[in-house]
Symmetry: C2
């Protein structure tokens, strides 16, 4: 079973917004065994949309379209659907009732004609109920291909994928089994890892595919298997991961199904009943906001002092002025003091601290561009790492955030063992 | 002049990573008058890549490809280039020298064969020098279409776009003039704005295109013009924006060329010599990290106290326990006290504070899910806003962040006038 994802919107083609919808839809479909053949972004132009539909007709089973369903003139998807399916727009009574309730009942506003027009749908379509917005989803079949239209607003699209599309596809289609296992390695580059596992990789059976996903400082290895015999696939993946672990055990820091590192850390802390705080300079609160983004974070995340200015390090964290004068703000001594201070102030088990120069200039502190010190205060000690993450600024911040989280994860894992 | 952007990578098609490269490339090309016809994401599969190239051959002037240039087995772009152009890989001496210098000189590691293979390029290609990584860019022409291959690592791709591709396209091609003007509105929904400006919109000349870009709580209106007479386009856009401003002056909060609101706020604060701090609960440091992400932020951003736990509000911000007991942590009184405390602790001119319940459960504070209080302490007063941002969690956090920044911008603008 194959699907293509089509996003419609001039704002995507001029680079004004990043398309995050496609990745969400792809991940949701992949999980139930639907293969994504392509993702395509096209303009809000009727003939462009129709030509894209024609090219996909009978080539794939599903075409999932996002965008172009809003109430304004630049949104043309609904009219184009009518043209393509030789259909006409009719008022759907259930959608109209829902839109009226949302506008008048929840937002306490008078309903306008433009609001009411949201209830217009092609007469032949199956309406997908959008509980969290006014634009409904639409499901229409032509020959061997189903075309599904969804609003572009991310949380509305997500609601419809999770509550309408996935259940309907699972009910109505037979699908193969797709399995991924991601192995997280840390500390060696892509080419170094590739050399070490070359023989292992060459020996993989045909139905297993290996991919390298490098990021600054870490490489994720993704093994993918596809087939109908679920148990066999699981067994083979397990065996191959074990033989891989025997080769590069020193750099493997964990496994990932779908969790990102911040979510994994949250789960581990919650399980252990431990708490965390941060004291951030060059990362500016990015570690804190990642930790706080997960639902239920209040069980383990207490807070952060973002001491961006030197004064804030002195006034809020209580770092002695003399210590800063002696070692400068970008130093092992200051970052240790920051971590200890955050741990004490926020009364936590762990605290992460960062200080460095993300660039693009040397600035008043006169530290090398890219130089970052990371400290982790644990219940028993303070661990300090010194890095040079090079340039540019966004890379330095990104690497500082993820190196901090990797350090934290490794330490939490130690305490599990 | 038209271009198509092609991203290669199975990790994109299974939704493991979000493609941010395409938006960057699109924005860079749009600025110099190159129109993006489509963006396509495809798998690391030779025949899929070749079929995509065949479909684009002579249809567009430029095809910009990212991904598939790494040193490992899952990366096939370079070999596919050779097939498509009937060419063979040869060692490029300059690239080899650069790779050797980077690995041995900067990373202080022994160079491996896999590293050396990065210097293999198709013999007919023009090499684009990648100063910040080991995989070079490649520029190859076939008939009327140029195919450009770039590494998928974002900062390497950015380096090559900014330093190699844009200058080369500007030198070698004639392009039309493209102009966008984005008007930021705040406080009314898309359909409401559309009704108010309907007559104005219907009266726009054909070469002007209007798009609505709605986000929770705000709508950006983008006017785009394309043509050869730069002065005429600029004049017409200016006139139309002025007539729009006369209609919806009450909801227009600013104009945007390419700056996002956090960058704009930074510029305004820097210009006025004013400083900012934050005290964040439900936003968890997201406002601070946005402010700190901009180069030069230390001129105006002093720091933040992320007081996620109630104890942190008491211990670090010094909010009286009695005040919290009387009004609860999600209240106008507590958020005001947080803003004033951050302003005092960090010695700034402005301070933003947030407190609320982002969900998904009511939690210990028993506040409504979606309820958020925002306070802005200015040099002369404290302004408090009460919101209910509904659900889900990510929407609540996102709206709290941007509503805070909008409030701050409006206040800073007042002080300019």
């Amino acid at each position: 079973m194959r699907a293509t994802i089509v996003t419609i919107g001039d704002e995507i083609l001029i680079g004004q917004i990043v398309d995050t919808n496609s990745a969400f839809i792809a991940k949701s479909l992949d999980r139930i065994g639907v293969e994504i053949s392509e993702m395509i972004s096209i303009s809000d132009d009727k003939s462009h949309i129709v030509n894209t539909f024609l090219a996909l007709q009978n080539k794939v089973d599903l075409v999932i379209i996002t965008g172009g369903l809003g109430p304004t003139k630049d949104d043309v998807t609904k009219k184009t659907f009518c043209d393509y399916f030789e259909d006409e727009l009719v008022v759907d009574a259930a959608v109209l009732a829902h839109v009226t309730q949302l506008i008048e009942g929840f937002y306490k506003r008078e309903i306008t004609q433009i609001n009411k027009d949201q209830a217009l749908v092609p007469s032949k379509c199956t309406v997908l109920h959008n509980q969290v917005g006014t634009a409904p989803g639409m499901w229409m079949k032509k020959e061997n291909t189903v075309f599904i239209s969804l609003p572009g607003v991310p949380y509305e699209m997500k609601y419809l994928v999770e509550n309408e599309i996935i259940p309907k596809v699972v009910r109505e289609y037979e699908r193969p089994y797709i399995m991924h296992k991601t192995i997280l390695t840390y500390g060696q580059g892509e080419s170094m890892v590739a050399e070490r596992i070359e023989d292992w990789e060459n020996d993989l059976p045909d139905f297993l595919k290996l991919a390298y996903l490098p990021s600054p400082g870490r490489v994720r290895l993704r093994l993918s298997a596809r087939g109908t015999d679920k148990e066999m696939l699981e067994r083979v993946i397990e065996e191959r991961v074990a033989s891989l672990d025997a080769i590069i055990h020193d750099i493997i820091v964990g496994f990932e199904d779908e969790d990102t590192i911040d979510v994994m850390i949250g789960k581990m802390l919650k399980k252990q009943g431990k708490t965390i705080a941060t004291a951030e300079s060059c990362t500016g609160g990015a570690i804190a906001s990642l930790l706080a983004a997960t639902a239920g974070a209040s069980a383990y995340f207490k807070g952060s002092v973002v001491s961006y200015a030197t004064e804030a390090k002195i006034d809020v964290l209580g770092i002695p002025d003399a210590l800063i004068k002696k070692h400068t703000v970008v130093s092992a001594e200051v970052v240790s003091a920051m971590a200890l201070s955050a741990k004490r102030l926020m009364k936590t088990d762990y605290a992460i601290a960062t200080t460095g120069n993300a660039g693009p200039t040397k600035g008043e502190v006169n530290a090398e561009i890219g130089a970052v010190f990371i400290a982790l205060a644990t219940p028993t000690e303070v661990i300090v790492e010194e890095h040079n993450f090079g340039q540019p600024r966004e890379k330095v911040i990104d690497r500082a955030v993820f190196s901090s989280l990797e350090l934290l994860r490794k330490e939490i894992l130690k305490n599990v063992l």
